[in-house]
Amino acid sequence: MASVELLILFLVGAGVIAYILTRFNTFLGSIFTIFAVMFVFVSLAGYGFGMNMDTTVNILPGISFTETYLGFYFAIIIVFVYLMVSFFHPYYLSEYKYKNSYNLLFLLSLAGILGAFYTDNFLNLFFFFELIIWTTMFLIPQGKSKEAAVSYFGFSIAGSVAMLIGIFITYNVSGTFSIYQGLAALSGTNAIFVFVLFIIAAFAKLGSFPLHIWLPIAHGNAPHPFSPVLSGALVKLGAFIGVLALIRIAPATGLFTAMDLPIGQYVVAILGSMSIVFGTLMAIKEDDAKKLLAYSSMSHGGYILVAFSILNGIAFAGGFYHILAHALASAGAFMAIAAVARATGTTKMKELGGMIHKMPITYLAYLIAIISMAGIPPMGGFISKWLIFQAVIDKGMIFVGIAVFFGSVGSFLYVFRPLAALFLGQELTEYKKVKEAPLLMLIPTFILMGLNVYTGVFPGGILKFINNIIVELGYTGIEVSTYEINGTNGILNPALIGLIFAVGSGIAFLIFIVLKKSRKVELMDTYTAANFVHDEHLLHYAVDFYAPLERLYEKQSNWMTKFYTALAEKVRELGKLGKYLFMSKNISTTVFWIVAIIIFLLWGEVL
């Protein structure tokens, strides 16, 4: 029996050891981190599936745990992503300024995650959330910019504050800090308040429209091995709060309905749709591969929101499956980009090209990840999108439908762009000496490739587990057998699709192999309308890939950023005012103001 408490304490202890080891030797500390995370993952996987975790608390004061399918599902996915990413640490840490504390913070944030998903107490939840935020906040600025951390922190804190207020209202109404009892006790106006506050928290964490600004900044500038964690794991915290808000408080908020849905849910669905569309459009425009994937995370967050706001089993199944599929795909894609960035030192697509000839395995990993991300069979993303589409179509939600279809086709466009500009195209001279990533980094790559395919071909087992969650949430699960999934308006057999795809490819391969062998020519020996070009940069199409499309929404695309920039400007001005008032050189003025404020605050109570 693995105890959650012990695991958390183990992680804290391991963090300290990792800190010491890393100080001594970066590589050793990182290897230790891998084993620590692996230990947590193995114990979680070994006992968690059967709901056999020990949730008693002996040492930590004021903290209580409980075990739910929901919490476990999130926890196992996130721990898995952490495990995969930890394999990258040995090769990256040496570049960072505060490399000693990197592993410590990494493990501490994992401890926070375990706690957050296993707790049943709101205050504990808040505490663990804060632990995650504070640890990761110090991880992010190790990458390119400190601004990123500030923006991440700002939005996270905004979400936390919203959640805290929601928690207080809940406590006020129900008199308990227990998550499930508390939320169940809500009704009427209070329920609406809590719903809205929780949704704000969820949106801030998930990086959904309109609280998405931090997402590309943080993802794009985070350290390369941390971006997969951000996108594949931490963003899912928002999904967790979203589930709490949308499903647990849901029926209470039903003032009136739209399309058989409570209005709150419907609004969330519409906002989720906007998140999809906005994320897609921005991703198409983006030039930095990591930022592009960050916007894609935003778009996929929209799918998750849409799925959870349609209150039926099939949509939930789609949503939960999407969380898994996107975590795998996004981790895979980010890790491939990280491998490229390690080899070349950049993630800007216009500076890269032809990496496929140097890093074929990384390329394959990226390819499989994006196929899943675009929702093409036989990968996991297809299953979840299929389930979500079923729900949307059955509800007849036209505008949400436009968004999900748009996002689904649009994801083709943006995931293809790094593929074309970064991996394919001309082989650039400056990267002639680049080599494939080392073996240790290829291990998680292979595992993720395999899992992406597995989730797409044999979703039965996972869906059965998801059914447990759905039942736990009080809805009926979907019909699923080993090979077939029964939707409301159709049957899907992913294994059959996989098989047929293999057969088709086999036929194509036969045709290919029977015919005459081709002559290999250089990449530069290409059609140039019979002109001579000897600079491969001139033949590499990477800049402004979707220029005609971008031009159509160029003017509209920046208003959100502008709004937030203006807001930040205002906040800064306010800060300056405060600084001017309080921090003036004249010390007596400062003292005067401080006294004045204290008096003002205590006015009602004391004076």
Partner: protein
């Protein structure tokens, strides 16, 4: 299972032969429109086999791998396609979304291979193909959403049976606006003018195909024919009530493809952003109107 797979392969092969012959006949018809003789009707076959017999070039493994993936994906898609309401390889598994998404594997393979050739024209062509796809898919899927919402089933045979059951009440007639949108989207899918932005020989030197010759080009031709077969069949099944026997299917297929081709032959092509603008203006508005009318008001002719 083996038998089913063999039937599936048979359907894919049939689709290839059918579409290639009809494309050949259409070349002749368009030839007559242009006041000339036109080629032999089996010219398309000769072209493809000639290409397969040539000694081609390759730009590296991704160039070949993409082609195999493209053709494989398309063959796999075609294997799920029902020909009539009771003739299909895999009973119950002809889900509409399989076609939309599995066909994308082929597209992705071709796009990958084309970009892998390192030619800028090819990348531009791929960019245009993907952008065009973004344009036509959404209105088309909204119309299909309406249809699936009405029939309550996303299986193509079920949709066919639904139309045939109520006295050949084709969705082209039941949902006239949607049918029109479907046809426009079909033109986009088939790459017919005015939406033929991605081949455009005189602008971008035949786009994605720019570096292909010999067997790779031949395989892409086969892929192109089979994907045309899938797209036209989808239209026939979704909007024209499918078919109860093979001859009905052939006639409907021929009419749809020929009509698209004739419209194509007297139009110029749009620029790529005009295609996007066009599809997100009228067809999308029409599709949404149709969906609202059909789903919320229940007005179905």
């Amino acid at each position: 299972m083996i038998l089913n797979i063999l039937i599936g392969i048979g359907i894919a092969f049939f689709g290839f032969v059918l579409q290639t012959s009809i494309a050949g006949i259409n070349r002749k018809i368009v030839g007559r429109l242009q006041k000339r003789h036109g080629p032999r009707w089996y010219q398309e076959f000769i072209d493809i086999f000639k290409l397969l017999s040539k000694r081609s070039i390759t730009h590296g493994w991704i160039f070949d791998f993409g082609v195999i993936m493209a053709l494989g994906g398309i063959i796999a898609t075609a294997m799920f396609m029902p020909l009539t309401n009771n003739f299909l390889a895999f009973e119950n598994f002809d889900n509409f979304f399989i076609f939309v998404y599995l066909i994308a594997v082929g597209m992705l393979g071709m796009a990958m291979s084309a970009s892998g050739s390192g030619n800028p024209w090819a990348s531009i062509g791929v960019m245009r193909a993907l952008t065009t796809m973004l344009a036509y898919e959404v209105p088309f899927l909204i119309v299909v959403l309406t249809i699936i919402n009405l029939t309550g089933n996303s299986s193509l045979t079920e949709i066919m049976l639904y139309q045939q059951a109520s006295g050949n009440n084709w969705f082209l007639i039941a949902l006239p606006i949607g049918g029109l949108v479907g046809f426009i989207a079909l033109m986009g899918m088939l790459g017919k003018k005015p939406f033929e932005t991605y081949v455009a020989p005189a602008e971008i030197a035949s786009g994605p195909m720019v570096e292909y010759g010999g067997k790779q080009l031949g395989m892409l031709f086969i892929m192109n024919e089979i994907s045309a077969f899938i797209e036209v069949s989808l239209f026939v099944h979704l909007f024209l009530g499918g078919a109860t026997n093979i001859f009905e299917f052939l006639i409907k297929y021929f009419v749809v493809y020929t009509l698209a081709n004739l419209i194509s032959s007297v139009n110029g092509r749009f620029k790529i952003d005009q295609v996007v603008k066009f599809f997100y203006k009228w067809p999308l508005i029409m599709a949404v109107t149709q969906a609202v009318i059909a789903i919320y008001f229940g007005w179905v002719i």
